[in-house]
Amino acid sequence: MEIVNKEYGLPKEKFKGGFETWAWFFMRISGVLLLLIAVLHLLIMHVFIRVENIEYSTVVDRWTGSWGPFWKAYDIALLVFALMHGFNGLRWVVDDYIKRPGWNAFVKALLLVVFIIVIGMGAYTVIGFTG
């Protein structure tokens, strides 16, 4: 891929890869995907169903009804992409403001631990729920 900036005459840069370039690229891809699936999730839960009408049975219908496998797959995609996008964003925030190497590494390690625990809890809930 080429990133071209004609207006300012900056040199063309070839897509070289590497973790940070892929992380940058992932944020764009997952961002567009989340624009669709997270906004639709919000529209369904907050406008069509409305939060005050959500009950235990709403979850039962959603995950064990005839469309259950679809919604489980949808929610796993939402879980994985939202958390990866969110925690990579938080990692960038930490890199911007916490400059001291020790603290920087400590806070990012903490983020990684929270990320792993939460993605585990989410996956366990979505996959393991039987009603």
Binding site: Y56, L83, G86, D96, Y97
Partner: protein, 129 residues
């Protein structure tokens, strides 16, 4: 800690105009949504402990203060989504500053009405509407 505060302060006081405010708001909404998503996964985990436990969690979300926070959440997601899309368009297709200014207004023309409609749906039940 002092270093973190000074780099944060530099980030806020930098005079970058609309693009800079867009960036600050993108950060704030991003941190807010990431925090909510984390809480939301934990609260959904309670569904595994049965109907009574889950109902108690759901009750937390129905009080007026939470409904107000819900409006902030919806605005945050919508703003972050469409401002993010604006950033992607600028990254790949629209380097000219003229286009960037247009995109900024188009973004708000989408985000504000959507947020207002969502705010209405969220807050109306509190007032019995």
């Amino acid at each position: 800690m002092g270093n973190a505060i000074s780099s944060l302060w530099k980030g806020i006081t930098y005079k970058g105009g609309p693009g800079h405010y867009a960036f600050i708001l993108h950060r704030l909404t991003g941190i807010g949504v990431a925090t909510f998503v984390t809480l939301h996964i934990v609260d959904n985990f309670v569904v595994m402990f049965g109907e009574d436990a889950f109902s108690e969690v759901l009750n937390l979300y129905s009080n007026p203060i939470m409904r107000l926070l819900e409006v902030f959440l919806i605005f945050s997601v919508i703003y972050h989504a469409f401002n993010g899309l604006r950033v992607i368009i600028m990254d790949f297709w629209a380097p000219s500053s003229h286009m960037q200014q247009k995109l900024w207004y188009i973004m708000w023309a989408i985000v504000l009405p959507l947020s207002l409609v969502a705010a209405w749906f969220t807050l109306a039940p509190i007032f019995g509407l």
